[in-house]
Amino acid sequence: MRSVFLRNLLGGPATEAAPAADDAAMAEVADAMKRSARAALGRSLAIREVDAGSCNGCELEIHALNNPFYDVERFGLKFTASPRHADVLLVTGPVTKNMAEALRRTFDATPDPKWVVALGDCGRDGGCFAGSPAIVGGVGDVIPVDLVVPGCPPRPIDILKGLIALMDGAARA
């Protein structure tokens, strides 16, 4: 185990090993993130993720944001366990009829000011599940949405960019 610790300490950050294109995109995003999150909320942004009916694909890419390649906590982005601690609700999936009430209640439990991001094609408008009698629709059909990040699932870098756009908007407002 010691060798792994040492390698990680001496070997430099994992991001260096990432492909060049991604590195550039990541650096750009990192800069933008620092500016906007600071301007809007001081130091940090607390995010509560809500799966309102997703296929779990979007969750996998949200998880990736926490891996050492993206490591979004360094920008002050933190996923919280409770909506009561959240600034942002990051909502995935077409909202199923069976989840609509839980989503509404989660929204109500989140203190103001708050923002809602609808993630993925499903969050946007139900995606390929649109038209199913078992779903209500996109996130916007149940709670007010501030930003949509399309994709199926959106790449981690796109989720990050989306959060920055949200912060930019909030800073200007």
Partner: protein, 494 residues
């Protein structure tokens, strides 16, 4: 002497166009006898689903790797309960009633399952959790919105101090009406939905769907398509196992291993992206083959991934194996007894950690699994540790498979045109996802569109075992136990 399954199949009338395994229409007596066969463990239940005014039951004779489907017409809106003799059928029957309105007669549990009373015309009675009585017991209700970034579901723990006396699950929150949605879609459209039944198994599900369509149409895809599909399936298995190994260790307070495994997973997704143009390889498998060829430098990307993993992974395993504090959490935690695993015919790491070796890649070896060399790891302890070791060994096997598949990748086309408008044909497929065997079944209608499609996720037969696994353990071990299973909510909820 005929096997019990063969005897049963001989009692019915064979459907003319059902492939590759037989489907026979039986009467209520044969149906009830089949339930008895399941109850006595002479056959395993692969699936049970509604289809208009009939029900189908898929059976597996594990010794012979033989599969058969029984169909019972329900003109009076009901069928003899299978769950009355064989508990693993209970949730499936409750689902049939919720979705198709057919009543399992004599069923031990008549509560709705996926129907939460929120659909138009759905049940409105408040859901009754099973009563638990005793001194000093209290309940902890969790979900549907959980504390982590995971799917929604409700868990009702009854505890005595720290010890879990009973866990009762309530699922169905992410029911998206997948089976109804499929009806009337073209095969290509339906494949898109099948790939979103459970996002983590998108490749496996799209292979299962495609194979069921190809079976129905009597089509064999080109060799290159088979190999590219398997390549993607093994990469998907790697990515998921990395994610889950890291997550289990993290829940046992070892974030170092989460970080290490997270890097392996990210590398895997990036290699997949480079090779196939999508991190999860979604919509790359289509009925008739694969949607695109391997990218020109895709082979190299995958080979360097294999090298990277071979270098890093053994050290992760070494840490896991050498850390007493980790083992203290995983060894003897969340034990599933081998007889339960057999009874539920649980696949994947849940089955293999408790001595059930079934692997669809071995049992029905379609190309390239018929020529490549690999083992299905098997353990017997049935605890979190054993489930983790199955994953670890499967990572090693998948790495070897990826190298073999790349090394033997045939040239030629990767797609074949499907015959148009063959109506009334039915097909079925069993495909091994990282989680276990995925069953896809469909019937193609007159206009070449889906008339009925059923997708049975491996989670159906694993979720109930999680209830058994946590009994007698402490509440704090539940996350660990849950992650070692990693059942799909979306795949189960349909």
């Amino acid at each position: 002497m005929m096997s019990p399954l063969a005897t049963l199949l001989a009692r019915g009338k064979k459907a003319a166009r059902h492939a590759p395994w037989p489907r026979v229409a039986v009467d209520a007596d044969a149906w009830t006898d089949a339930a008895g066969l399941l109850g006595r463990g002479e056959c395993a239940l692969l699936g049970l689903w509604g289809d208009g005014a009939s029900v189908h039951m898929a059976l597996l004779d594990e010794a012979a790797n033989a599969v058969g489907v029984l169909t019972l017409a329900c003109p009076d809106g009901g069928f003899p309960s299978v769950g009355a003799q064989h508990a693993p059928a209970i949730r499936l029957e409750r689902t049939i009633r919720d979705l198709w309105g057919l009543t399992p007669r004599g069923a031990p549990d008549d509560r709705p399952w996926l129907d939460h009373g929120k659909w138009d015309g759905g049940a409105v009675i408040p859901y009754a959790f099973l009563p638990v009585e005793g001194e000093g017991l209290h309940e902890i209700a969790v979900g549907p919105v959980h504390a982590g970034i995971i799917e929604p579901g409700h868990f009702r723990f009854t505890v005595n101090g720290e010890t879990v006396v009973r866990l009762e699950q309530r699922l169905g929150y992410v029911h998206k009406g997948v089976e109804r949605l499929m009806v009337g879609k073209t095969l290509d459209e339906a494949a898109i939905v099948a790939g979103r039944l459970s996002g983590d198994s998108t490749v496996a599900w799209q292979i299962a769907f495609a194979r069921s369509a190809e079976a129905a149409l009597g089509v064999e895809v080109p060799g290159r398509a088979h190999f590219l599909r398997a390549l993607m399936a093994e990469i998907e298995r790697l990515a998921n196992h990395f994610g889950d190994i890291g997550a289990v260790c993290n829940d046992a307070t070892y974030p170092l291993l989460l970080a290490e495994c997270g890097m392996l997973r990210e590398r895997t997704l990036r290699a997949a992206d480079a090779a196939f143009g999508h991190r999860l390889m979604r919509d790359r498998v289509i009925p008739g083959g694969v949607a695109g060829d391997l990218a020109p430098d895709g082979g190299d990307a995958i080979r360097s991934l294999v090298t990277f993993v071979r270098e890093r992974f053994p050290r992760i395993v070494e840490i896991y194996d050498g850390a007493a504090s980790l083992q203290d959490r995983t060894v003897t935690t969340g034990i599933v007894r081998p007889d339960l695993v057999r009874r539920f015919a649980a696949g994947g790491h849940v089955g293999r950690a408790s001595g059930r070796a079934f692997d669809a890649r071995k049992a029905f070896a379609f190309p390239p699994y018929d020529i490549v060399d690999f083992d299905t790891p098997l353990f017997g302890e049935g605890d979190v540790n054993a489930r983790l070791w199955v994953r670890i060994r499967e990572v090693e096997q998948s790495l070897a498979l990826v190298s073999q598949i790349l090394g033997r990748l045939p040239g030629g086309p990767f797609f074949v045109d499907l015959p148009r408008k063959r109506s009334g044909v039915e097909g079925m497929a069993l495909v091994e996802s990282f989680r276990g065997d995925c069953l896809a079944w469909l019937r193609i209608g007159a206009d070449g569109r889906i008339e009925r499609c059923h997708l049975r996720d491996p989670s159906w037969f694993q979720w109930p075992l999680l209830e058994a696994a946590i009994e007698g353990d402490i509440v704090a071990d539940f996350p660990l136990c849950n992650k070692s299973f990693n059942c799909s909510y979306s795949g189960h909820d349909l």
